[in-house]
Amino acid sequence: MKKLLFVQSKPPHGSLQGQEGLDAILAGSAFVDCAILFSGDGIYQLLSRQHTDALASRDYAATYLALADYGVDQLYCVAADLKQRSLTMADLLLNPTLLDDAGVKALLHGADAILDF
């Protein structure tokens, strides 16, 4: 079975890419095993305590908490990105697997197709 890797590289709310990327991930989960890599500013999508009421932007971060229900449990982030942003796992909504650079390369090369958001 083919492996699909989705890469989330943009922070939330400033553009629709993260939210529509998540829509694509949920669609993909109905077909095959999907993995998600949060790369660069994409890790901010998993930051906890996002309060969207005042902005009137969609609180789609809550949907990430339902990923397990869709069978999506292969979540990854880049150790260097967390460090650069002074973030730890405690700051995140979920516990993605931390990858070093070699791990990211292996993840990218192990995918049959990559969809970038």
Binding site: A27, A30, V32, D112, L115
Partner: protein, 130 residues
């Protein structure tokens, strides 16, 4: 080989659509096939039949239509992205009680399943974005 082409940028605002068009033509000129062109994010704007660029500029919408017609390509526009951005075919315009539709009939509104199917079925997937 079969190519899946994903267009994530609208016409003119970024170069995504123009590059994708050149790439699509090159795929066909090289003797390969295009499994599907899937328009997502702002890429759905390429399906807008009301686009009227200056006469001395390439008409990206018309060019996609012509390429689609000449080679019987599937030009798919993601329904959720399209609705959010006001790209409606006649059915959606009626469903949402809008005064008009604007999606060129050369394009088809469909779901994200077409993106996933394309990525899984085609031999190669190329994405052009903002």
């Amino acid at each position: 080989m079969q190519f899946m082409i994903v267009v994530q940028g609208g016409p003119y605002t970024t170069q995504a659509s123009l590059t994708a068009l050149h790439f699509a033509r090159a795929v066909l000129a090289s003797g390969h096939k295009i499994y599907r062109v899937f328009f997502y994010h702002d890429g759905v704007y390429n399906g807008n039949a009301l686009i009227a660029p200056p006469q001395d500029e390439i008409d990206l919408h018309q060019t996609w239509c012509a390429l689609g017609k000449e080679h019987s390509l599937e030009l798919i526009v993601c329904v959720a992205s399209a609705l959010r951005r006001g790209l409606l075919d006649a059915t959606e315009a009626q469903r949402y009680e809008k005064s008009a539709s604007n999606l060129d009939p050369q394009f088809t509104i469909s779901g994200l399943g077409q993106l996933i199917d394309g990525a899984l079925t085609a031999d190669r997937t190329m994405t052009f974005g903002a």
